[in-house]
């Protein structure tokens, strides 16, 4: 079985696309698909028979077991769930994520206000995403409602490694990191 990285639907081996949400399950050029490390069940999503051994249960540790460099020319997008809208991240190596409100002096680089950020408990400066040596990491900036990587809460003010495909939640607002 292949688990869809986006909606977790189970597809038989040999499937190329998720029948539930339409996500592509394979990557071309002989590369493997992004495997999202899932806390409960580590899953593989390669299109060929080769299977990756289970990498433990801690998503953060699992991520460091399978380092995946991000190519320099790639553009990172934040995909806001559930609307699916993409926000490109360009021109910087570090981005603050949050929302805006009246009279705010420091504005976040990524403003989530249009996505109901206030109601979903996103702080004004909620988290920071950093790209360094082809590695992405995320830090919670002491937000009120906390930051989660794949549903696991991370401690504030410490960078944690994240990968394309990971779902980060700021309060109740979920965002997926994707590569183009």
């Amino acid at each position: 079985m292949i688990t869809c990285p986006q909606c977790k639907h189970q597809e038989p081996e040999g499937a190329f696309f998720c029948s539930e949400c339409g996500a592509r399950l394979i990557r071309l050029n002989g590369l493997q698909t992004h495997s999202i490390q899932h806390p409960e069940k580590p899953q593989t999503a390669e299109w060929e028979v080769e299977r990756r051994p289970a990498t433990g249960t801690d998503p953060l540790k699992a991520a460091s077991v399978v380092p995946e460099k991000i190519p320099e020319d790639a553009t990172i997008y934040l995909r806001v769930l559930p609307s699916g809208e993409f926000i490109p991240l360009q021109g910087q190596t570090e981005f603050t994520i949050g929302r805006t409100s009246k009279g705010q002096s420091i504005l976040p680089d990524v403003d989530l206000s249009p996505f109901d950020a206030y109601a979903k408990g996103v702080s004004r400066l909620h988290a920071a995403l950093r790209l360094e040596n082809g590695e992405l990491s995320l830090m919670d900036l002491g937000s009120v409602n906390g930051t989660y990587i794949n549903k696991t809460k991370i401690p504030p003010n410490m960078y944690r490694r994240v990968q394309p495909g990971d779902i980060i939640s700021l309060g109740k607002l979920s965002i997926q990191i994707t590569l183009e």
């Binding site: 040999g14 339409g22 050029n29 002989g30 559930p82």
Partner: protein, 491 residues
């Protein structure tokens, strides 16, 4: 006499492994050995053939040389199957495999005269067709008349709550009278498609020959009530006589599920035009597509291999339509003179048994009508199978399969939205529409994506899609699969 086909002699597919060849040879040799069949001349001859086949096929170099001389598996047609995987892994769970079938007319076919047509236009003249729509249909029909070749036959039936035969099997010439008859057509009354179809069917049947491409083109803008079932039964009858039915739906109100069903039952196609201005280009296209048919009524009659089950089949060329399974027959469509008929099939392979070497996905025969041949019917066996075993190095799946699937997936998502709505599952339908919009955006289909998002909104408020949006999404996602996009999906 046709030269010996070594694969047939041993009862093997052309991609048989060395192991399979050895096993098949031993089995045949044991059965036919002269010691066991004393005095049986036929067995002795067979035994020699088997020896010869094994001699060639067991020698890799000789086999390659022999393979290069093999004709296409189907007489008069270039035929090719590509699978999503070269070898299936032996695993204890179900897996998917895709087969892409391509039928191409031989190059020489381009120089042959096009087959004669025997067509009937069945035109809805209900009140709603009045005005611009009717005018365009009339002028287009008259123009089509002028394009008739000497052997073509054209009938015209109009219908509202009853049917009228305006033209019965007309041939080229006599335009004046016919043109004025067509101009006399007036809109008025309801829409009873069965009456129109029945009259059209009788006309086509009257002039049908194996030499002709026999086809009904239904042009409508409305819904028919209560006679759908009878119409579908009629379509089955038409299919028996190799008569295809294609539908052209105008505007938002016609019943797309019904027209699709008529078309898939008979190997025809459905087209959707929103504005009457486009009626002409669509009819032109349909006309030229029909007259460029090299083979039509291409069918695959199969018995499912016990190792796998056909999930769905989808025609990608020359036009895009889902293919319905009717019992054990797939009506694939027609092969154009200067292009291909291409069909993608998805099979669910059951868990493989220990020691199993090959899984049969489907076996049966392909048949088709090639009107230009003295004996139009061509039949050939076709077996779809895959080896099971260790896979070699990981290779990319065939690009054309991935490409086609990325778009079939979107079409199927759209289909599931309809199913969700029908079963009252608005939440799932909305989520699926949002997913669909995301994928469309990623493929650069921003207009269609916007239509989808708008409908997602509408769905949350009214628990239903708008008739217009629903058709745009259905035919828009379908037309993504066309090689050169002809449909304008602007709302």
């Amino acid at each position: 006499m046709t030269p010996q086909d070594y694969y047939q002699t041993l009862g093997l597919p052309r991609d048989a492994t060395a192991d399979e060849i050895r096993t098949a040879y031993r089995e045949a040799a044991r059965r036919l050995h002269p010691d066991l069949n004393p005095g049986d001349k036929e067995a002795a001859e067979q035994f020699l053939l088997v020896q010869r086949a094994y001699e060639i096929l067991s020698d890799a170099a000789a086999r390659a040389k022999y393979d290069a001389t093999l004709p296409s598996e189907i007489e008069n047609v270039d035929f090719e199957v590509v699978y999503s995987r070269p070898v299936l892994p032996a695993i204890s769970e179900a897996q998917l495999v895709y087969a892409l079938l391509t039928f191409t007319a031989p190059p020489a076919a381009r120089n042959l005269p096009p087959p004669p047509l025997n067509l009937c236009l069945v035109i809805d003249r209900s009140t709603s067709m009045g005005g611009r729509r009717m005018d365009v249909v009339k002028s287009t029909t008259i123009e089509l008349l002028r394009q008739l070749k000497p052997e073509d036959r054209l009938s015209i039936v109009t219908f509202s709550d009853r049917a009228e035969v305006i033209l019965s099997g007309a041939q080229a010439g006599h335009f004046q009278q016919i043109a004025s008859d067509i101009h006399m057509m007036r809109a008025g009354g309801g829409t009873e498609i069965y009456r129109g179809l029945e009259a059209g069917y009788k006309e086509v049947l009257r002039y049908a020959t194996p030499k002709h491409i026999n086809h009904i083109i239904l042009i409508t803008d409305g819904r028919t009530y209560g006679d759908e079932e009878r119409s579908i039964l009629l379509a089955h009858q038409a299919r028996q006589h190799n008569i295809g039915i294609s539908g052209l739906g105008i505007g938002d109100e016609w019943n797309d599920v019904f027209l699709d069903k008529l078309a898939t039952t008979t190997g025809g196609s459905t087209m959707f035009v929103e504005h009457s201005e486009r009626i002409k280009s669509f009819l032109d296209e349909k006309f030229s597509a029909l007259s460029q048919a090299y083979a039509h009524q291409v069918k695959y009659q199969y018995s499912g291999g016990h190792g796998a089950q056909l999930q769905y089949a989808f025609r990608l060329r020359p036009d895009v339509m889902p293919i319905e399974q009717e019992g054990n027959t797939l009506l694939l469509g027609q092969i154009p003179v200067d292009g291909s008929l291409q069909v993608l099939m998805e099979f669910l392979v059951h868990p493989t048994a220990q020691g199993q070497q090959r899984v049969y996905l489907a076996q049966g025969q392909v048949s088709m009508e090639i009107p230009l041949r003295p004996d139009p019917q061509v039949v050939a066996p076709l077996r779809l199978s895959r080896k099971i075993g260790e896979s070699g190095p990981i290779t990319d799946p065939p690009k054309n399969i991935v490409q086609a699937l990325s778009q079939i997936t979107l079409y199927r998502l759209q289909h599931r939205v309809q199913e969700d709505i029908a079963s009252g599952n608005i939440e799932d339908a909305t989520r699926r529409l949002q997913n669909l919009a995301t994928h469309l955006l990623a493929q650069g289909q921003s207009q269609l994506a916007r239509t989808v998002l708008k409908e997602a909104n509408q769905l949350q408020h009214t628990q239903a899609l708008s008739a217009k949006g629903q058709k745009h999404i259905k035919y828009g996602t379908r037309s993504l699969l066309l090689p050169a996009r002809i449909e304008d999906s602007t709302p």
